[in-house]
Symmetry: C2
DNA sequence: GTGAAAGCGCTAACAG
DNA sequence: CTGTTAGCGCTTTCAC
């Protein structure tokens, strides 16, 4: 029976013959109201179609109950799962997601203004590039930030990340079983922090393992760049024994390119590994050997850290590194 | 040099030696303020790290500037693109996305409360199942709703949808070139409106085309269900000549299952078509013949309709049907 | 347990 | 063009 105009707590109070604050109390959990008043208020509220106005509540409590989630356009393909997890897990803690998409690093300034303006309780940044001065800006304004899928050892930042070191080591150990002579590392773009981290870890581990012939190419995380990079490489070089890709999508591109355009048998002539464990990496035609990110746990950790800092603004920065799962696909030759 | 505590327009006014409303005016575009005051205010505002409080603004203007976007967990795989488009295009019109994820139809009641509470300007529902009584509820509360990727001819609803009729016709015409004897229609789940629509359109068109042997199976839109359905079917029936899948993901599953477990040559022994035009449908190993949804245009239309109804609550419901593009892949036999 | 009253930070008439 | 004033709808002391 909702009216056209919004029903306020005053309207309900008048109708129910109680004070406005009584109505307010009824709608705030855990406040002491007599059963009688509560029933009366509830009844009239329902009849009138009253809903408390969250905006007014935010204004006075100075808690918006909203968390800004920044999604970079470069975010990798498993982000829909991440995003839906974030939304779900925040909802369970009675918070909402205010979504921001970020195209270029330049947009971050603007975003910062927006986010301040909306008085969000905190920020979760998915795969976005955050300079530390930006981070400091949020800090100054007392807005906690958690970087998802980032690992910034030096910085005073809240980060949650899959264990790249361990994961890539597991992948290389799989590859090493065949004693590959030539490695090709297909990195993500140079301006992606995750890409840089994965590449450097791979390079340093390969060194440790004593690999001698290691080359690097740069893609942009896309399927097509996986194809293009391999094609370009093969024009002037022999088939590498093993290709380490910074994400699954490029690995899939590499596999397709190898098979279709160069008649290379994956995994017998060339092994390929990816990273992320996206859904399609498990598809029959690819079966990429990869590390599956523990998305649900990563999100859980992000939210825990974030809310801890919302409650307690002075708690020190926290980093959590979770272990991904090695998926033994069929893109690495079995010795 | 932001303070720890939030800076308000009063603080800025005091510092700048002007009235509070002067500050307010400076921060609202299009209001007449002398250049001198504007500069003075801007300077002190910047110095003090002032940002207007959007919450307070929302309270008084009764416009939150937020649009609720409801994403059903069943939303098809192209939703990340949709979501990012929605966010981007709304941002361009100075609105934000408040994200809600919907698991089961039951949750919609709850969601409705939430959404009312947040005073959103409108709602965009992505592939969510909306009973018409729910729709009426929003209507009563003067909250405009646009259903994305839905077509409800009878209902008084704002809808935006790809032209399924035309798209599926094009697909069937491709298939018909080979004079298939047996059709298999792999539908999405029965509780998905889009799935039902696509299935019924396919069936009625097949009838028109004079197809005699048409069978129906039900999947859940997932890759695995594409595989499982085909496997189950082949246990008791011969290989169909043509498989019409309600989305690309199932089509990909069907293709993988056919090739890997039954040594069926796609497209020579069996043709497969999908729908949506998701990125992976174009991958070399699949090359699904499908209809690519004009996502950007669909989103643009959704937002136009939504904002029109925000401005003008009494405008009549509007439906827009946009044409998708036939992607001629390699999953249909060439005659 | 309940009501009165004082704001939260801003916008929007309204005079001047 | 600028300042004054009155709220937006709610939460939260504070008496009773």
């Amino acid at each position: 029976m909702a009216n056209n105009k919004k029903v306020t707590s005053y309207d309900v109070a008048r109708e129910a013959g109680v004070s406005q604050s009584a109505v307010s109390r009824v709608f705030r959990p855990g406040l002491s109201v007599s059963q009688k008043t509560r029933d009366k208020v509830m009844a009239t509220a329902n009849r009138m179609g009253y809903r408390p106005n969250a905006i007014a509540r935010m204004l006075i409590t100075k808690q918006s109950g909203m968390v800004a989630v920044i999604v970079s356009s470069r975010a990798n393909v498993n982000y829909p799962e991440v995003l839906s997890q974030v939304s779900k897990q925040l909802a369970a803690r009675n918070k909402r997601v205010l979504l921001f998409t970020l195209d270029d690093a330049e947009g971050l300034d603007d975003l910062f203004e927006q986010i301040c303006t909306f008085q969000v309780d905190g920020v979760i940044a998915l795969a976005a590039h955050f300079e530390s001065d930006k981070l400091a800006q949020f800090e100054e304004h007392n807005i906690p930030v958690v970087l998802y899928n980032r690992n910034v050892p030096g910085a005073m930042a809240n980060t949650v990340c899959c264990n790249h070191e361990l994961g890539i080591k597991q992948l290389i150990m799989e590859l090493e079983k065949n004693n590959p002579k030539n490695y090709l590392v297909l990195s993500g773009p140079k301006d992606s922090d995750v890409a840089n981290e994965r590449r450097e870890i791979a390079l340093s581990l390969l060194k440790e393992f004593g690999a001698e012939n290691v080359s690097i190419l740069y893609g942009d995380y896309s399927y097509q760049s996986g194809r293009d990079c391999l094609a370009k490489w093969l024009k002037k070089h022999p088939t590498p024994d093993a290709v380490i890709c910074s994400n699954d999508t490029m690995a899939i591109g590499v596999i397709d390119q190898a098979r279709e355009s160069h008649s290379i048998n994956v995994p017998n002539d060339m092994s390929v590994v990816g990273f992320d464990g996206i859904t399609s990496s498990a598809w029959q035609s690819y079966q990429v050997t990869t590390i599956k990110q523990p998305v649900e746990k990563l999100v859980k950790a992000s939210i825990e850290i974030l809310l801890e800092h919302v409650e307690n603004p002075d708690s020190p920065p926290e980093s959590r590194v979770l272990t991904g799962a090695l998926i033994e696909g069929n893109s690495v030759k079995r010795p």
